[in-house]
């Protein structure tokens, strides 16, 4: 049966771990899900929420909305902010590109999301905000 979780947090860095724990707990009862799957989702959500805080809201206050939907064997995540938006999405998702090199960023946020999830979609309006949609299929390896 389909189930969903919706969380709204403000862009405080303390909330990154709150969202990570909430989402990983929520998906942990999917039949056949492995620890590795949970870590993949957890890492991807951590990257997406960190981006909202640092890049969308530039460490100022804003609201981050996280929606997680579990349907049979898949996890769908949406991370929505109303921050500054991304001017050049292609550049932003380029591995090792960072708009803030002085901040010790590896520029690997989107690379991690794309590697750890099955699909990642980025929609952004400059001045209005960004919406990240990520999908992962959970393969039940147990033979019934």
């Amino acid at each position: 049966m389909k189930k969903s979780l919706s969380i709204e947090v403000n862009s405080n860095i303390c909330n990154i771990s709150v969202v990570r724990v909430a989402v990983s707990t929520f998906i942990s009862d999917i039949p056949g899900i492995t620890l590795e799957d949970i870590t993949d989702v957890k890492t991807s959500i951590s990257e997406a929420v960190s981006n909202c805080i640092e890049h969308a809201y530039l460490d100022e206050n804003g609201i981050i909305k996280v929606e997680c939907t579990v349907e049979e064997d898949s996890v769908m995540l949406k991370i929505i902010d109303s921050g500054i938006g991304i001017e050049d999405i292609e550049l932003a998702i380029t591995p090792a590109y960072t708009s803030k090199p002085e901040e010790e960023h590896a520029g690997l946020g989107f690379t991690i999301m794309e590697n750890f999830m099955d699909s990642v979609e980025v929609e952004s309006d400059v001045g209005k905000g960004t919406r990240i949609s990520m999908f992962k299929k959970i393969v039940n390896k147990k033979i019934v």
């Binding site: 860095i13 990570r20 590795e36 951590s46 690379t111 991690i112």
Partner: protein, 103 residues
């Protein structure tokens, strides 16, 4: 986070805590740098035994410390990395510069 400095080997080891996200990394990077500057170790070890989670900010943490260690002409090693953290490290190029051991 704990640290140990072995005077005879000129070796500084830091033992990191459970979750390395941007919050934790922003807090600890200056502390780690202050140890490096204080001891100027010839060998710098980051022990990941207790680290259960790391995202790309952990990679930034490694690169930043490596840049400082390089200035001292010293060696940096990352040890006791579990498989999930290894997968994050493998997406970056840090293992070209820093020795990473799982053991």
């Amino acid at each position: 986070m704990k640290y140990v400095y072995d005077e005879s080997k000129k070796r500084l080891s830091v033992y990191l805590d459970e979750e390395l996200d941007i919050h934790e990394c922003r807090t600890i990077r200056n502390i780690i740098d202050s140890y490096i500057i204080k001891y100027e170790p010839e060998e710098f070890i980051m022990d990941f035994s207790n680290v259960k989670f790391m995202d790309s900010s952990g990679i930034g943490l490694l690169i930043g410390r490596y840049n400082l260690i390089k200035l001292l002409d010293s060696k940096m090693t990352v040890i006791n990395v579990d498989s999930s953290i290894k997968r994050v490290i493998e997406l970056s190029s840090v293992s070209k510069y820093i020795t990473v051991r799982s053991e």
